[in-house]
């Protein structure tokens, strides 16, 4: 017995020691939900509710520099509230002023002039000026050796010139109507006085600890692997934000996001996997809102493969796939069938006056027969003694693999012998995007609220750029170039409507659906504008939390 008790004491001591090793040891603090710990000083009907704290999930540690080569996805939604861009996505899908108050293009479209606000301060109290804009672009974005995130979006920009402290000029290589929209799309301005002369990508004090921005919230605490805490910027140029605090919680597993939303530990996020939707809808402390987003999902067949070069083949694919079934069963109705690249939320430019493809397997077979295929005894299409067999690559991401399996079944049903190849994201990019070593693949494009899709369709971007199907077509190039050069919005809309009609006929990509984002929100969270999740974060200063 003596042995037993001393052994127990030893174990207990070791346990206490281990516990104490990772914490203080002061008095216990009771658990509290964000709602319980809010300050309670708002609630008048006229003025927006003041105060409150919200929590937002991200899947990995962010990098506090919007241009850092590794700053994307999780970093974007954090940087959006620390920094500001010259513009931001408008509530009416037209670029809205942010650090810039107004802008105009020269007659020839080769010079854009932006007037800047003169009342903006960085989080450290320094004045924001045109020097910061010039530094951000000339020093980081346009320096090709740096490989800045999103730099590819600004290939049309030659250089940025400071005119005076509050005016800058963007000098262009070619006319580009979409510049204001792209300046509000992960293109925030960073401080020259902090970053100039430093090794910017390895400046860990700025990128990982205490970034200095002009945005509505500033970082007060970053605990790697756990959370980033931000507090309201009292000096924010649009006035102090309504909320006191925003905490980004680093939660790698989406199941944890769902559990924490149900327990009130998270206040807002975009639901990637809709399989938990019904469970979340049953929680009365949450509200679920569908939001339009400028995005479309697509299949791409490699145009360097002769088998896929006839538009009728691509049309056969469109008729073969039961897209409404995918939308109803997998996406729970949060999407609409897509037939071109301009999503319906861009109302000024979108048109449904395009070639539409119903689910019609017989029509798909007929189209294949028109281009010389015949069905063999095994139910596979054949041409010149060769069966129609090809691989279908898909990255393991959200619902994609499940949907790819349905697409594979649909294509098999019309005689296409499709083998599904699943891989991680990184492998997919290397194989399909970098090496262009694929037959068919599936992915999506997201772009700013502007119809300029030049990067994904122009023949100059085939084989090495973002024209992943390697589609080359003179008429397509002509329309894309015309769209970029046209400055009058009404004329531009006509160009893009013509482009959509052409796309839907030619099918450089095989369009699947325009998604709607599913935003899961604390029912007490209000004044989140009716925009997609990412864009609504540009208005975080307006969000309120009912007490």
């Amino acid at each position: 017995m003596k042995f037993k008790s001393s052994w127990l004491v030893m174990l207990f001591t070791l346990m206490l020691f281990t516990l104490a090793a990772c914490g203080g040891g002061s008095s216990s603090t009771p658990e509290s939900t964000p709602e319980e710990s809010e300050s309670n000083n708002g609630g008048e009907e006229a003025a927006p509710a003041q105060g409150g704290e919200i929590s937002i999930p991200i899947v990995a540690d962010p990098i506090f520099n919007p241009w850092h080569p590794n700053a994307y996805v999780e970093s974007n939604i954090v940087n959006r509230i620390i920094f500001s861009g010259l513009t931001k996505p408008g509530k009416d899908t037209v670029p809205s002023p942010s650090l810039a108050t107004e802008w105009s293009a020269s007659e020839d479209g080769l010079v854009w002039t932006f007037k800047l606000r003169d009342d903006v301060k960085w989080h450290d109290g320094e004045d924001f000026t045109a020097d910061d804009v010039a530094f951000t672009f000339n020093g980081l974005v346009l320096d090709e050796s740096k490989g800045a995130n999103s730099a590819a979006n600004f290939q049309a920009v030659k250089e940025v010139k400071k005119v005076d402290d509050y005016t800058v000029e963007f000098h262009m290589n070619r006319p580009w109507s979409a510049l204001p929209a792209y300046l509000g799309f992960n293109a925030e301005i960073v401080p020259q006085h902090i970053l100039e002369g430093t090794d910017v990508w390895n400046n860990t004090e700025f990128n990982k600890e205490t970034p200095i921005g002009t945005g509505p919230f500033k970082v007060v605490n970053n605990t790697p692997g756990q959370s980033v805490e931000l507090e309201a910027n009292e000096e924010f140029f649009l006035g102090r934000p309504n909320l006191d605090k925003v905490t980004y919680k680093i939660l790698a597993d989406v199941n944890t996001h769902i559990a924490q939303a149900m327990t009130g530990e998270l206040d807002i996020f975009s639901l990637e996997d809709t399989s938990s939707l019904e469970r979340l809808e049953s929680v009365n402390t949450l509200k679920i809102e569908p939001r339009d987003v400028t995005r479309y999902y697509w299949l791409g067949v490699n145009q360097n493969d002769e088998r896929f070069q006839d538009a009728k083949f691509r049309q056969a694919i469109m008729h073969a796939i039961n897209r409404p079934a995918i939308i109803d069963n997998i996406l729970k109705g949060y999407a609409t069938v897509a037939d071109a690249a301009i999503s319906p939320n861009l109302e000024k430019y979108y048109t449904n006056d395009v070639t539409q493809y119903d689910y019609d397997p017989e029509q798909a077979k007929a189209l294949l027969e028109e281009i010389g295929y015949t069905m063999n005894s095994e139910g596979v299409m054949e041409k010149d003694g060769e069966t129609l067999s090809f691989e279908f690559d898909v990255a393991i991401q959200g619902d994609l693999v499940t949907i790819a399996q349905l697409i594979q079944q649909d294509l098999k049903a019309v005689g296409m012998d499709v083998e599904l190849v699943t891989m991680d994201w990184n492998s997919m990019i290397q194989k399909d995007v970098v090496e262009r070593n694929y037959d068919m693949m599936m992915n999506w494009w997201t772009y700013p609220d502007d119809p300029d899709v030049y990067a994904q369709y122009h023949s100059s971007n085939a084989d090495t750029g973002n024209n992943i199907p390697n589609y080359k077509d003179e008429e397509m190039d002509r329309l894309l170039e015309l769209g970029r050069q046209t400055t009058d919005p009404d004329e531009r809309a006509e160009v893009y409507k013509e482009l959509q009609a052409y796309m839907s006929e030619e099918l450089p990509y095989q369009y699947l659906w325009y998604p709607q984002e599913t935003i899961v929100m604390n029912a007490k969270l209000n004044n989140v504008p009716d925009l997609n999740y990412g864009a609504s974060l540009h208005y975080v200063n307006e969000w309120t939390l009912d007490q």
Binding site: A152, Q260, S427
Partner: protein
């Protein structure tokens, strides 16, 4: 003893060296590159610029040589994805994994020994069957599924325990326990059943020995026979498997940390592998290898001390 330690030290160095070669070449053979080069919308020029900045335009063998030369001087390089020193990124996470695994080991050993002894002493009775059944269940049920179920039960439905993360700095012991309870419980399922089964069979073997029979014949109390005479000898093989369980614990930590948002090494290596952050993968692998080698080394020494029949030197 000194020659034994020297021999083991030499073997350990060789082992770490081999692990470093295999890991470096495997991660570099994986398709793709650091995530900064792998954005959907990055141009070929951007990818090339980033590869050059990160020194990835050198042949793999040259890069390994450079990495090794720095590593032997204690410099594990800079993380490709954040630019921070790898040591710094590991130091942020290591204490959390250490806390989780040490507690799990203590719980597993303590509970495992007790259950193993009960199962042995009540051999072929209901409690023996129940313990064995639970051990099999613990080994067979996927831990990620069990983790999500516990999360739904204790955090969502009952709201007794926090669903993720670690206790805020300065929390009291009780609050820390609430954060640790589920992760430790789930991680225990990878080690506890093994300890229970080992202890049971070891105990059964010991209590059939002559000296136990003699002790009973001399009228020594049953509790003293079991917990003093028999258990000491039954523990010997159990100590030997603790070394084997350490890698299993660290492997299990990957899943547990992901589900419970525990900011440890398990999650770090997953993030690093997904981002093809070669230097960080190497750093984490080397640190984990050193931990495994060191614990096995200690287990061997303890084993030779508690079992006079084992002579390592």
């Amino acid at each position: 003893m000194a020659s034994f330690i020297a021999q083991r030290l030499w073997q350990s160095i060789i082992l770490v060296f081999i692990v470093s070669i295999i890991t470096f070449f495997l991660i570099n053979l994986a398709p793709g590159g650091p995530s900064s080069m792998m954005r959907m919308d990055a141009t070929a020029e951007e990818r090339a610029a980033i590869a050059e900045q990160l020194g990835l335009d050198e042949p793999v063998i040259v890069r390994y040589g450079e990495w090794l030369a720095s590593a032997v001087q204690g410099d594990l390089g800079t993380s490709l994805s954040t630019g921070q020193p790898v040591i710094e990124r590991i130091a942020e996470r290591f204490p959390h994994t250490l806390q989780l695994t040490i507690l799990t080991l203590i719980v597993s050993v303590f509970v495992g020994l007790v259950l193993g002894i009960i199962a042995a002493m009540r051999r072929n009775r209901i409690s023996d069957y129940a313990i064995n059944f639970l051990a099999v269940i613990g080994l067979s049920v996927p831990s990620f599924w069990l983790a999500i179920m516990l999360l739904l039960l204790f955090s969502v439905t009952l709201q007794w325990l926090p669903s993720s993360g670690v206790a805020p700095e300065g929390s009291g012991i009780w609050e820390q326990v609430t954060f640790l309870l589920m992760p430790v419980l789930i991680l225990s399922t990878s080690t506890l059943p093994t300890i229970v089964r080992f202890m049971r069979s070891s105990m059964l073997e010991v209590i059939s020995q002559n000296y136990v029979r003699t002790a009973r014949a001399k009228g020594v109390k049953e509790m003293v026979v079991i917990y003093w005479h028999a258990m000491r000898n039954a523990l010997i093989p159990v100590v030997s498997i603790i070394g084997v369980l350490i890698p299993r614990l660290l492997g299990g930590a990957v899943i547990v940390e992901s589900v419970f948002g525990w900011p440890g090494m398990g999650r770090l290596i997953v993030e690093a592998a997904n981002a093809r952050d070669y230097t960080l993968v190497m750093g984490v692998t080397i640190v984990v290898t050193l931990v495994v080698v060191l614990t096995n080394f200690l287990v061997d020494i303890i084993y030779s001390k508690i079992d006079p029949r084992v002579k390592n030197y």
